[in-house]
């Protein structure tokens, strides 16, 4: 409708209407604006811009602001010049209300006419205001509609709560008012009818049944689809015209629902809304078509699909996105009205997308309008945004020379830059999800646990709204479950115990999330017994995780850290819940894998708390960029403890050799070292010595890293900057390599690999564990009374377990059998730029041959004299520390040193020297000569002093094999006894021994006249300069690494040649 106004008539109307304006009376405001606009368009119209603007502002204001504006408006109206053109005095014809219902809710706001004031300057305004208003209207309405949805869901749980009905009513009223004000008739009508319907409910004349809730939600959806049309269109009213038919249908349905609801107000449910015939026993499809929720074609298609899929019709329609969930639920309810007296509960009958899905959808709608998007698509967006950054960088480089010459180019580039970053951020944002979803799962977990354990446990949850990257939330599920189990099982006491302690019978497990320092903190804990530190220490000693004397010196924090060691469990009873010694280490490694950390705090009798500190996202992580060979790698900052850079002399002194492996003395802590370029076979860096020994002029960069409870140093060739890198998934083709966490793109567009510290540590694990254990053992002398060896268990065929002492092996590697090349002199492997001679034990010993199709194999690398040789085996089973009773008579065959039970299996011990000698007899040709010469002469007698029967047997074998006579002694005292009784030619002694150690033995020998001149060779597993010096001072002639047979034999021969034999 387009009423015509005259300016004189308008003036009268305005002065009258202004005094009648009430807050929230948007209909009246709308009519006034329409009237003002009509006059403004006419020639010789008075300056109405200020009035128009004030009217617009009034529509969106409330309270004191409203009153102030109304005062201003009154002044502005009074200031208008009297109209020169009388006539056409029809007042502002009010738009007829589209329905007969009285306009409800005239809220507060006192009257009071505005006084006529002086002339006001007309302000310039116009279309821009309109446009702004429409935009504001759209945003506000959408948020109103959201609140309606939430309240409808609330009402489902509290039916009949009038306060909630009010909350539903009010937004419709507001939207209606503004829509009318803006001339959006179609929206106005719908809201008006809904307002009427709800008004009945507010006054108790109508019950909001399930069907009516659905209708309200449907109306909300409808308005949601309609209202945003006003946003972009130049002519909003016209933009809504296509909705006209549907608006009429909607209005009709609401009116009908109102009527039917009024006809049956008392408790019983109204007939289904759509004016369709009674729905009971009608097919669902028919109801949906009748409700105009689906077209007959869609139903036919779904029925056809149903034959193939055997799924409920409604489910198919929802899945095909033909019909919203709410419609199906609604139709099902209609179908069931005759059967269920309270169809509100009826959606239970809906297919898999039942009440849960309905609620979920309603809940999800709580944020804004949602669209379901595939994660893959988001990842792609992320990737593309990253590409954009690269493209921009290249653009900047290329244009660097001309940027100053072209005006405005710089600001364009900056703009592109900013947009790109914002895009990246926005895409990141899409991956974030509130933790609430995950947290709420634990109610069930805790309830089940409590029942299982016969305890009373409450779960307190906080910070559900804290958001985390979706992938992080997924990765958190298992660790949190485990921690909660732990709290329930170990933490919370039995109700009786709690009662006795004066605690509430019900224990509490809490799960709280919050932001701190740019990270997300998740606290999981209980109010239970706390951790018994003493018991933890005892357990750790029992499990051989720590030496007894060391355990007592551990701080509380260090002790708690032991809980995360693999194989640790303090549960007094093994229950189905926890206590099997697996888990806590997995918790730690899982959390660290996502760049997080775990801290435990505990107070006796008050409980234990686990604090998980997590990054917000995994998609972008800070990382240190390093190089090895010519390649760059990224080390996640979360794993990096510190960087150590050593120059020249410092470098050569700081790296120690322990059993062929490198160890770094970091402020007293023995840190196992890995050389990245060697681990990755990338060739030694320029300046490196190539033999792995630190050179005097070599500088070292060591990244001190942590993974789980392990710490190790990674020697890299070069250290670059710390960068925020975008983590990209690794191709599935590379998943089994196991040492990479992903890949990233560097600034120059090249791909760089991200190192996975847990994987890298695992890759080098055997060496690491051995070194760490050894470093610890070296510190924690004297050695345990029970003699133990660290053995490497492996096999050529899984049916035969084989072993060698781990200390003999200098390296372990995995190879592809296809890399092995046959040559005339034997098999070789291209290895670190050289050819490594190989021994396949099954070629020389009677062993079951390896299984067919062995694609990968392991190589045990031994350093024999000046040679390096690799033993090819199929599987490495384990490295274990164990006491061994070696039966050296059990296997007569050359190449075996004996049999023993290890890890409950009969295990053959390889005599590695004999095996190698069989494979490469020419290496030993000279030695053979020497041996026969030795045998020809009177064989020399060696006193072998070694407390370990195991090593003693091994060493004795070598020596006897080499043609010597051997007398044994188990320690220094025993050695002195032997010396007193019989002559020997040379003493070979261990250093660390009970009763009398090697140093003291040497000193005692040197003091003693009859045999003071005897050559003494010390063999030890630890080579450290100060030890060596001490040995030399004590009178030891040669100081050798244990079990280097070649060196030992050479040294013995040299000393025997130099010194005359004993009398």
């Amino acid at each position: 409708m387009a009423p015509s106004f005259s300016s004189s008539g308008l003036l009268d109307t305005l002065s009258a209407e202004v005094s009648l304006l009430r807050e929230g009376d948007l209909g009246r405001l709308g009519r006034l604006i329409t009237a003002v606009d009509a006059v403004r368009g006419q020639p010789e119209a008075p300056p109405l811009d200020a009035v128009r603007r004030l009217l617009a502002q009034l529509a969106l204001s409330e309270g004191a602001a409203f009153e102030t504006l109304r005062g201003l408006l009154a002044e502005a109206v009074a200031a208008l010049p009297p109209s020169p053109a009388p006539g056409d005095a029809s007042g502002p014809a009010p738009q007829p209300e589209p329905a007969p219902a009285p306009q409800p809710l005239e809220s507060g706001g006192s009257g009071g006419a505005g006084a006529r004031g002086p002339h006001a300057q007309p302000a310039t305004a116009g279309g821009a205001v309109d446009r702004e208003l429409f935009l504001e209207f759209v945003e506000e309405s959408l948020s109103h509609l959201q609140s309606i949805e939430l309240n409808i869901l609330k009402l489902e749980t509290e039916p009949g709560n009038r306060a909630i009905v009010d909350e539903i009513f009010r937004p419709f009223h507001t939207i209606k008012g503004v829509a009318g004000f803006l001339g959006l008739q179609l929206i106005h009508v719908v809201c008006h009818e809904m307002e009427n319907l709800l008004d009945q409910a507010r006054h108790g004349k109508l019950r909001i049944s399930g069907a009516i809730s659905d209708l309200v939600l449907e109306t909300v959806d409808f308005l949601k689809s309609m209202i945003p049309m006003c946003r972009s269109a130049a002519e909003p009213t016209a933009a809504l015209l296509p909705f006209k038919g549907r608006v009429q249908a909607m209005v009709e349905r609401i009116v009908q629902a109102n009527r039917q609801g009024l006809a049956a107000p008392a408790g019983s449910d109204p007939e289904p809304a759509a004016g369709s015939p009674p729905a009971a026993d009608r097919p669902l499809g028919e109801i949906l078509v009748g409700n105009r929720a689906a077209t007959p074609e869609q139903v036919h298609q779904a029925v056809a699909a149903q034959r193939d899929q055997a799924r409920p019709l409604g489910e198919i329609l929802i899945a095909e996105q033909h019909v919203p969930v709410v419609e199906v639920a609604h139709a099902l309810r209609q179908q069931q009205t005759s059967r269920a007296p309270h169809p509100q509960a009826a959606p239970a009958a809906a297919p898999s997308a039942g009440p849960a899905a309905l609620a979920a959808e309603g809940g999800a709608a709580g944020s804004t309008e949602n669209v379901r998007v595939r994660i893959a698509l988001l990842d792609q967006l992320m990737t593309l945004a990253g590409e954009l950054v690269l493209g921009r960088n290249q653009l900047l480089q290329k244009l660097a020379g001309v940027v100053d010459g072209v005006q405005g180019l710089n600001s364009i580039l900056q703009h592109v830059d900013r947009v790109t970053s914002e895009l990246q951020e926005a895409v990141m944002q899409t991956r974030m999800q509130p933790l609430g979803g995950l947290f709420s799962r634990f109610h069930r977990v805790v309830r089940d646990l409590a029942r299982q354990l016969g305890k009373d446990i409450d779960l307190s949850i906080g910070g559900e709204g804290v958001e985390l990257d979706k992938t992080l939330i997924e990765a958190l599920t298992d660790p949190l479950t485990h921690l909660i189990r732990n709290c329930a099982d170990h933490g919370i006491e039995n109700p009786a115990t709690r009662a006795a302690l004066g605690k509430p019978a019900a224990g509490t497990i809490f799960l709280h999330a919050y932001h701190e320092g740019g990270k997300v903190h998740v606290k999981v804990g209980d109010d239970g017994a706390g951790v018994d530190l003493e018991r933890v220490r005892e357990k750790a000693i029992e499990a051989n995780l720590v030496a007894r004397d060391k355990a007592q010196t551990l701080s509380e924090r260090e002790t708690l850290r032991l809980l995360f060691t693999p194989g640790f469990s303090t549960a007094r009873q093994v229950t189905g819940v926890s206590g099997r010694g697996v888990g806590m280490d997995v918790v730690l490694s899982n959390i660290e894998r996502i760049g997080g950390s775990v801290e435990i705090t505990t107070r006796p009798g008050q409980g234990t708390t686990f604090l998980l500190v997590l990054p917000l996202t995994l998609a972008i992580v800070p990382a240190l960029v390093v190089s090895a060979g010519a390649q760059r790698f990224a080390i996640p900052q979360a794993n990096l403890l510190e960087l150590v850079h050593l120059d020249g002399e410092d470098a050569s002194g700081a790296v120690l050799q322990v059993r062929g492996s490198e160890v770094f003395d970091l402020r007293g802590e023995m840190l196992p070292l890995l050389r990245l370029s060697r681990t990755f076979r990338l060739g030694e860096p320029p300046g490196g010595s190539g033999d792995g020994q630190p050179h005097a002029d070599e500088s070292l960069s060591i990244a001190v890293l942590t993974s789980g409870t392990k710490r190790f140093g990674l020697i890299v060739d070069q250290v670059f900057d710390t960068e925020e890198i975008v983590v990209k998934p690794l191709s599935t083709l590379l998943k089994n390599v196991g040492v990479y966490a992903g890949a990233t793109l560097m600034g120059d567009g090249r791909v760089a690999l991200i190192l996975d510290m847990a994987g890298l540590a695992r890759h080098a694990e055997l060496a690491l564990d051995d070194e760490a254990a050894h470093a610890l053992a070296a510190k924690a002398a004297p050695v345990d009374a029970v003699e133990k060896q660290t053995l490497l268990l492996f096999n050529v065929h899984p049916s035969q377990q084989l072993a060698v002492p781990l200390s003999l092996i200098s390296r372990l590697d995995t190879i592809r059998t296809s890399e092995i090349r046959p040559t005339v002199s034997g098999k070789v492997l291209p290895y670190r730029g050289q050819l490594l001679p190989l021994v396949c034990p099954e070629d020389h010993l009677s062993l079951v041959p390896p299984p067919q199709e062995r694609e990968r194999a392991h190589v045990l690398v031994f350093e024999i004299g000046r040679r390096t040789v690799g033993l090819v085996v199929t599987e490495i089973a384990d490295a274990i520390e164990t006491a061994v009773q070696l039966d050296d008579a059990a296997v007569a065959q050359k190449g075996f040193s004996g049999m023993a039970m290890v890890a409950d299996r009969p295990t053959a011990f390889l005599d590695i020297y004999a095996v190698i000698e069989t494979a490469y007899p020419h290496w030993f040709a000279r030695e053979q000569e020497q041996r026969s010469r030795a045998i020809g002469a009177q064989p020399a007698t060696i006193l072998l002093v070694e407390d370990s029967a195991f090593y003693r047997t091994l060493e004795k074998n070598y020596l006897v094999e080499a043609g010597f006579q051997v007398v044994e002694a188990a320690d220094g005292e025993e050695a002195l006894d032997v010396l007193a009784q019989r002559p020997v030619n040379i003493v070979v002694t261990d250093i660390e021994m009970p009763r009398l150690n090697g140093f003291d033995l040497a000193a005692r020998i040197r003091e003693n006249k009859p045999y003071g001149h005897l050559p003494i060779v010390a063999v030890t597993s630890l080579s450290k300069d100060q030890e060596r010096e001490r040995g030399l001072k004590a009178g030891i002639d040669a100081y050798l690494i244990k079990l280097d047979r070649e060196q030992l034999l050479a040294e013995i021969r040299r000393l025997l040649a130099n010194k005359p034999a004993a009398a």
Binding site: G386, L390, R681, P729, L733, L734, A743, R750, T814, S818
Partner: protein
């Protein structure tokens, strides 16, 4: 040559797809090989490849394809053909397998051929030096035999 419309039409119509198949063909170590065009995403010139230490020997390394990082397969090594003088050179055919995208290194891309479905036969054991387990089938063309690779076998098994 296949236009996208044709491809779409073929994909939508099983009968049409049965009638003709298109293959991207290329030379590799003297072999004449092909890949179903539906599995080939794009063809790239030589790229800067980042090697992946400790990876399987037929994995040359990684490249970035518009920000997506994909693995490059040395097809010669994968198929057991003699190595080329220049390992990293040649063209990349980016292919889609069941679980991933990967790039196959080939010497040069020849053409796209259109083969009537009836000419597409299961791979005999001896037709090519390539192990039959990597082949999807063979086609007798005018002058020579085209061995068509099973992309999934080439990519996923490794």
């Amino acid at each position: 040559m296949a236009s996208p419309q044709n491809l779409a039409a073929n994909a939508a119509n099983p009968a049409a797809r049965d009638q003709h198949r298109q293959f991207v063909t290329f030379q590799l170590g003297g072999e004449f090989l092909g890949i179903d065009i539906a599995r080939a995403q794009e063809i790239l010139p030589a790229q800067a490849i980042t090697p992946v230490p400790l990876a399987a020997s037929h994995i040359v390394g990684l490249i970035s394809l518009r920000g997506q990082i994909i693995a490059v397969v040395n097809l010669r090594r994968r198929l057991g053909l003699p190595a080329a003088a220049d390992e990293g050179g040649g063209h990349h055919i980016v292919v889609r397998a069941e679980s991933s995208i990967a790039s196959l290194l080939v010497d040069s891309v020849s053409d796209i051929v259109d083969v009537p479905a009836g000419k597409f036969l299961p791979p005999p054991e001896t037709v090519s030096r390539v192990n039959a387990r990597y082949l999807d089938g063979v086609c007798q063309l005018e002058r020579r035999i085209l061995a068509v690779l099973d992309v999934d076998a080439v990519i996923d098994a490794g």
